[in-house]
C-alpha cells in the first residue's frame, strides 16, 4: 500500500450496525491495495489517534471492510463518525493466514467473540475456492446469544450446507437461535470441539479469540491429532507501529506485527508468553 508513516487517505463509504458495540465499516482508500485474511491495517482518525484492525472480508472493489468493536478512546471516536468522513489507512502489516496450507484440507475454524472478524475473511477466502478445500467447519462461541456476529449470514451458509456451523454461548438468557435452524450449545467452545468429528490428518485449524480461548483449546487440537504445523492462531497485542520498532507487541522476543500476527502452534510453543 504505502511505506513509512504517511497514511493513505480513506473515506468511510458505509457503516452497518451489527449490535450496540459492533459495526461494519467499509473504507475506500485512495489507492488500490490488497490485504490477506489475518493481515491488518492501522486506521487513523486525524486528531484522535490510530488503532490496528484486521479486515472481516477479502478486499473487493477497493473496499476495506472491518468489523469494529467500540472498545476505547479511538474506536469510540470512530463510532461518532458518519459515512463520508475522511480517515487514514496504513498497511498492510503482518503475515496473514497461509491460505495455501488449507488446499486439500478440511478447514476447522474456531472463533471466540470478536475473533470471528478475521476468521470471516478467511472463511470467505476459502468459500471462494470450493474446488480446493473440503468440508469447512466453524465453531463460534460468544458470551451471550446477542453477541453472536454475522448470525444471518452464517446461518444461511449452514442452511445451504456450505459450512458446518456450531455455536456456543457462555450464558443464555434467550436461546432464540433455533429459529435459524442452527444448534447452539450453552457452554464453552471446547464443548463444541468435543462434539464435532473431524479427521485430524485432513484438518487444518485456524483460531482467533481472547487469550483464554487459546489456553484451553489449542493444545487440545494437537492432542486430537492435528499436526502442530497445521494449527494456526492469530495473536492480539498492543501495536503502535506495525513495523517492528515500537516494541509494544514483542512476545517471546518476536515482533508479532512483523512475523505474525498468525503463527502455527509449533512456533507458538517456542515463544514464551504467546499463549
Amino acid at each position: 500500500m504505502n511505506a513509512g508513516f504517511l497514511p493513505m487517505p480513506a473515506r468511510i463509504v458505509a457503516i452497518e450496525p451489527l449490535d450496540r458495540d459492533h459495526r461494519l465499516f467499509s473504507l475506500r482508500p485512495a489507492q488500490p491495495f490488497d490485504l490477506r485474511p489475518g493481515q491488518f491495517v492501522e486506521i487513523t482518525i486525524p486528531g484522535v489517534g490510530a488503532f490496528p484492525v484486521s479486515a472481516c472480508a477479502p478486499v473487493a472493489a477497493g473496499l476495506l471492510t472491518s468489523c469494529i468493536r467500540r472498545a476505547g478512546r479511538v474506536t469510540e471516536a470512530l463510532f461518532q463518525l458518519e459515512s463520508g468522513a475522511l480517515l487514514g489507512v496504513r498497511g498492510p502489516f503482518g503475515n496473514g493466514f497461509p491460505v495455501e496450507t488449507f488446499y486439500g484440507s478440511d478447514p476447522l475454524l474456531i472463533a471466540g467473540g470478536l475473533g470471528i472478524a478475521p476468521l470471516r475473511a478467511l472463511l470467505h477466502a476459502l468459500l471462494a475456492i470450493p474446488e480446493r478445500v473440503g468440508r469447512i467447519t466453524l465453531l463460534y462461541g460468544t458470551r451471550e446469544p446477542g453477541a453472536l456476529l454475522f448470525r444471518e449470514e452464517l446461518a444461511g451458509l449452514a442452511a445451504t450446507g456450505r459450512i458446518d456451523l456450531r455455536l456456543s454461548v457462555d450464558f443464555a438468557e434467550e436461546l432464540s437461535l433455533e429459529e435459524w435452524g442452527v444448534a447452539c450449545e450453552v457452554g464453552l467452545v471446547n464443548d463444541l470441539l468435543r462434539a464435532v468429528t473431524f479427521d485430524p490428518a485432513r484438518t487444518v485449524a485456524a483460531l482467533c479469540g481472547p487469550p483464554g480461548l487459546y489456553r484451553c483449546l489449542i493444545e487440545e487440537l494437537a492432542r486430537a491429532g492435528i499436526p502442530p504445523q497445521r494449527i494456526f492462531a492469530t495473536l492480539e497485542r498492543r501495536m503502535r507501529c506495525g513495523i517492528g520498532e515500537c516494541c509494544h507487541c514483542v512476545t517471546g522476543g518476536v515482533f508479532l506485527c512483523r512475523e505474525g500476527p498468525v503463527f502455527s502452534l509449533d512456533r507458538l510453543r517456542s515463544m514464551e508468553g504467546a499463549i
Binding site: A3, G4, F5, L6, P7, P9, T44, P46, G47, V48, G49, A50, A71, G72, T75, L86, G88, P210, P211, E236, R237, R238, R240, C241, I243, G244, E245, C246, C247, H248, V250, T251, G253, V254, F255, R258, E259, E272, G273
Partner: protein, 321 residues
C-alpha cells in the same frame, strides 16, 4: 582486545582547517559540554573545538535522531504531509559507547523514513574519552557507527561519508587501516545464555530485582539504545493535526495493555525481565545481538540503584537468590 581498525590519516593544520569548514558549513554544531548544573549534555558549540575531548552526555544521540515528540506527519486541508526536512547538524566529541549505540539505532531504524532523513543530515565525530569508574564499554561489541573519529592530529573514517570528507581535505590515497584509540575496557558487558534466560521465567530473581523498582522509567530514558515509542496526535485549533512519536517505556503499566484491560506483561518483575531481554538478547531480526554498550547510564540514573549487570550475574550463577 583492541578497538577495530578504520582507514586513518594524520592531518596537517591546513588540512584540518579545510575539514573543519566542511564539517561546519551550513550546519549547527553540538558537542558534550558540562552545564551549569554540572551535568554533561549535548550543547550548541560556536565552533569545533581545536582539541578533541570526548565526554559522555547525559542523553545520547537518540535525543537528535528519535527526538521525543518527533513529528511523523501533519494533516492540513484533508491531506497528509511528511515532516519538514530536519536540521543539518554536526555532533563532535562523542565517546565510543555512543558511537556503538548509534550503530544500533542505524540498524533498527534502517527503514524508518524520519530517522533516515535525520541521520543523513547528521555528521558524527567521535573521540577517545576518559572512562568513568562505572562504565564498561566493549571493543568486541557493535562496530562503532558515525562518520569520523579524531585523536591528536590523527583522523579515522568510520563511514563512506567520513572517508569522502577526509579525502577532500587531504587528497586521495593516503588512508591506512589503524585501530581506534579507545579506552581499555574497565569491565565487560554481560553475555547472557539464551537457554538460561528462557528457563528463568518462573525464577524469583526478577521479582526480587524489581522489588525496589519505582517504574519511573529513568533507566530506559537515558539508555542510548532504548527506543520504544508511543504515538500521539497533537491537534491545533486551526484544524491541523501533527502525529508525533513520543518516548515510551517498557516499565510503564500500559506498555502491553490492550483495550478491555488485559495486560500481557503484568508486574514489574516481568517488565524488568523484558528490558533485560531487549538489552542482552535482542528482539526479532536482531536476536543474538546485545544492544547494551556498557555506558553505565541506567545504573547511574536509577534512584534505587538497580543494576542490570548484577541481575545478569545472578542469572549466570544459577537460579535462586
Amino acid at each position: 582486545m583492541p578497538w577495530p581498525a578504520f582507514p586513518s590519516i594524520a592531518l596537517q593544520p591546513d588540512e584540518v582547517g579545510r575539514l573543519f569548514s566542511a564539517l561546519a558549513s551550513g550546519r549547527l554544531m553540538f558537542g558534550p559540554r558540562p552545564g551549569s548544573d554540572g551535568s554533561c549534555r549535548l550543547q550548541p558549540l560556536p565552533e569545533i573545538p581545536a582539541h578533541p575531548g570526548a565526554a559522555q552526555p547525559f542523553l545520547s544521540l537518540k535525543k537528535f535522531l528519535v527526538p521525543d515528540g518527533d513529528p511523523l506527519w501533519a494533516w492540513t486541508s484533508e491531506r497528509y504531509a511528511g515532516p519538514p526536512p530536519p536540521p543539518r547538524l554536526t555532533v563532535v566529541d562523542l565517546p565510543l559507547c555512543d558511537l556503538q549505540a548509534l550503530a544500533w539505532l542505524d540498524l533498527v531504524f534502517a527503514e524508518d523514513p524520519p530517522y533516515r532523513a535525520r541521520r543523513e543530515a547528521l555528521l558524527v565525530v567521535g573521540a577517545p574519552c576518559q572512562p568513568a569508574a562505572d562504565c564498561f564499554c566493549d571493543p568486541a561489541g557493535l562496530l562503532p557507527g558515525g562518520d569520523l573519529f579524531r585523536a591528536g592530529t590523527r583522523w579515522w573514517a568510520l563511514s563512506p561519508v567520513g572517508e569522502a570528507l577526509l579525502v577532500r581535505a587531504a587528497g586521495p590515497g593516503n588512508l591506512a587501516g589503524e585501530p581506534l584509540p579507545g579506552p581499555e575496557p574497565g569491565g565487560a558487558v554481560p553475555t547472557v545464555d539464551p537457554a538460561r534466560f528462557a528457563g528463568s521465567a518462573g525464577d524469583p530473581l526478577w521479582d526480587e530485582a524489581a522489588a525496589r523498582c519505582l517504574a519511573c522509567g529513568a533507566c530506559s530514558a537515558v539508555c542510548p539504545t532504548c527506543m520504544c515509542y508511543e504515538v500521539v496526535d497533537d491537534p491545533r485549533l486551526d484544524g491541523t493535526v501533527t502525529r508525533r512519536r513520543v518516548w515510551d517505556n517498557c516499565f510503564f503499566p500500559e506498555h502491553a495493555r490492550v483495550a478491555g484491560g488485559h495486560d500481557f506483561r503484568p508486574g514489574r518483575g516481568r517488565r524488568l525481565r523484558f528490558r533485560f531481554e531487549h538489552k542482552y538478547l535482542g528482539f526479532g531480526p536482531w536476536r543474538g545481538l546485545s544492544s547494551c554498550v556498557g555506558c553505565g547510564r541506567c545504573r547511574r540514573a536509577c534512584p534505587v540503584g538497580i543494576s542490570l549487570e548484577e541481575v545478569a550475574g545472578r542469572l549466570a550463577r544459577g537460579a535462586g537468590p
